[in-house]
Amino acid sequence: MNDDLRRVSRARPPEIQGWAASDEGRAVLDGVLRETRRPSPAKRRNRIFAIVAGAVLATGAGGVAVANGLPFSDGDPSGGMCARTLSADADLSQPNEKFDPADPAKACAESWTVMFGDGTPRPASFVACRHPGEDAGGSVIYPAERFADAAAACASIGSRPIP
């Protein structure tokens, strides 16, 4: 080590030792272990979204949005979500930015790595579909995968496109 770095080293404050094995450290580790036993954030958001989407359907807001052809996520209290895959039970996550009604896929594309990590390549194209299934109604951007047509892509998961 050079003299200047040695000098920096000599100004080093005391190190913490033994904390990890202390009661406090053990309590923090137990908290982390509890957190690891919970579903991943994307899956938790999926559940929250299902509840919100259900409420939308119950109040009829989702239906109004579809019937009137409003822009993406209008009338949807979830604000819209991004799906990792084109599937009815896909992991859902919220992007960092707000959805641009004119280009809602942009928010999902730009937040892709933050939401889903590097393990899932960012899709080349997306489609906007209503969330399918029992809690249908919410606004979701899905990867278009092999489909060139939004209606066909949404139909493949039992859904319909958002106008």
Binding site: V8, W19, L29, R37
Partner: protein, 185 residues
């Protein structure tokens, strides 16, 4: 039949071992930058991220953990609207009063901290990763999220600026800014 053993998913042992080996070092790093409560919160999030991204954690995880802790703390600080002031904390927490190591050593430490405090945050960071936390070049580059070549260049420049900052207060230089217990003696 296993009685008296808690059934756990197999990877929890990995996380516990990671925590046992590195939590003290990560907490030290964080406590130099923030209060104890925030440091614990950030540390917990750091190890939770390690769990969620366990396939990304390298065999030598130290630099990776410091890098995650840095980013989590930076996000936390952005949300709180505060800035990191690691060396200023050291200067104001009176950790460098003369002790067993003697007054000359205490003065040198104080002068070094003052010089570090005068550097830019990126310069200070690269110097502290090496000088305070003993990270290798590979570990420090990982903590900073840059290549080893970029780290080497950053360290070289930071050392040059540190030497320039130390120069006015090396022997024969100005005494301005030194602690009161020295100028009063």
């Amino acid at each position: 039949m296993l009685l008296g053993f808690r059934t756990r998913p197999p990877d929890e042992g990995w996380l516990e071992e990671l925590f046992r080996q590195h939590a003290d070092a990560v907490l030290t790093f964080l406590r130099h930058r923030t209060d104890h409560e925030t440091a614990q919160d950030v540390l917990a999030e750091t190890f939770t991220i390690a769990w969620r991204r366990k396939t990304d954690v390298p065999a030598d995880p130290r630099g990776w953990l410091y890098g995650v802790a840095r980013r989590v703390l930076a996000n936390h600080r952005r949300s709180q609207g505060r800035t990191e002031a690691v060396v200023e904390r050291m200067l104001t927490e009176n950790r460098f009063e003369p002790g067993d190591s003697g007054i000359e050593d205490a003065i040198e430490r104080h002068d070094t901290l003052r010089a570090l405090a005068g550097l830019s945050e990126p310069d200070r960071e690269v110097l502290l990763l090496t000088g305070w936390y003993d990270l290798t070049a590979a570990q420090a580059a990982q903590a900073l999220g840059c290549s080893q070549a970029a780290y080497a260049v950053r360290l070289h420049r930071a050392r040059k600026r540190l030497r320039a900052a130390l120069n006015p207060i090396t022997p024969g230089g100005s005494l301005a800014g030194r602690p009161a217990w020295e100028t009063n003696s």
